[in-house]
Amino acid sequence: MSAKLYNQSVHDYSNRVCRFVDKLLQDSTAAKDITQEAYLRLWENRDKIDFDKVRAWLFTTAYRLSIDYLKQKNRFYSDEWIPEISIDQENPDLKKVLHDALSLLTEQQKSIILLKDYEGYSYEEIGKILQLNESQVKVYLFRARKKIKEYIGDLRLVL
């Protein structure tokens, strides 16, 4: 991959990767650092990577760097642990509700939701990024949406 193609990947995917990491970590500063690190690794390995697979490679690298970041911060959530979140009852904006609902999900579920809804990846592509098979992706996605649905349902019952 030439420098020209590398620069094209910067124009095409840098903001998308940063958005993915930002919503995954809920931290824009860390998201920028991780995005820069991902592109730095891409530049170092540009001879080994085809331009057709750059997008998947970037999201995969960004996801792994995000998991490492969370493990360093001791903020890696498992499926069993669900953090408490505050609900803004005065402005039950659906957008904000969904954003808050992401905190209920694990990193794996969150990644699947973000890759599916924001980036439009298929189950197979998500599986390659997260090193899962297609059926596993589907199961994790079902569980994630069910959690969000129940959170929304409970919120509306409260309101």
């Binding site: 620069n7 910067v10 958005r19 920028k32 995005t35 809804d117 996605l141």
Partner: protein
């Protein structure tokens, strides 16, 4: 097609919103919900659990930091690099030859020499002009000296003495005497003219001036340029550009 029940309705609703069901299966799901209204809220909440993109992606300001300068790859642009270097070499060689061409330097020298030649020519013309004037004055003075001499012979001793005491006439006499090759110019009357003091004065002035110019010509060491710097009152330049 698997039959839809209360145990698997959520999975079918999930598949419905994921777009994984055929038109027939979608109709079956809608028919089941219609028969069981208690699942209408679940059906709506499943639809709201999807994140929708806002159209344009937020700009995080990383683009300029991440861009790399286009590096010229040797293997990818080998011929471009070679051709570019050849072009630069040719341009440099051409400019060098154009700047340091000995023919161009010699062109300037003749121009300077030509100007100096022109100036020398001017001087020579002016000198020749002066010389002709000198010759003319010498001839005139000679004429007058001839007439003076002849007149002196016919004059009374007093008159001759009077004439001879004049400095200008003495110089004219010496000049006349020394000029052995003198040939009288035709048209001059042999009979002496009456000499007056005024005539002698005129002749003396002519003689002195002409002798000065001649001396300057004979003694170039005193005047290196060979030309009197001060224009003479009676100097008539022959070169109109002088």
């Amino acid at each position: 097609m698997v039959k839809i029940t209360k145990e698997n309705i959520e999975y079918f609703i999930f598949e419905y919103h994921e777009g994984n069901l055929s038109d027939t299966d979608k109709a079956e799901v809608l028919n089941f919900i219609h028969q069981h209204p208690e699942y209408e809220n679940d059906f709506a909440h499943w639809a709201q659990s999807y994140f929708h993109t806002e159209g344009s992606v937020q700009n995080y300001g990383l683009t300029n930091q991440l861009l790399q300068k286009d590096a010229v790859s040797w293997y990818g642009n080998k011929w471009f690099a070679i051709s570019g270097s050849v072009v630069v070499l040719v341009i440099g060689l051409y400019s060098y030859l154009l700047t340091f061409n000995p023919k161009t330097t010699s062109v300037t020298a003749p121009s300077l020499h030509s100007t100096s030649v022109k100036q020398s020519e001017k001087k020579e013309t002016s000198i020749s002009g002066a010389e002709t004037n000198v010759n003319r004055t010498i001839q005139n003075t000679n004429h007058s000296s001839v007439t003076i001499d002849e007149a002196a012979q016919s004059l009374t001793p007093a008159a001759t003495i009077e004439n001879k005491t004049s400095a200008g006439i003495r110089m004219a006499d010496t000049m006349f005497k020394t000029n052995k090759d003198y040939i009288p110019v035709s048209g001059i009357e042999d009979k002496p003219k009456s000499i007056s003091k005024t005539d002698t004065i005129q002749h003396t002035t002519n003689v002195t001036q002409s002798n000065t110019q001649v001396k300057n010509k004979k003694n170039p060491a005193k005047n290196k340029s060979g030309v009197s710097l001060k224009p003479e009152n009676k100097f008539i330049p022959t070169n109109p550009d002088f």
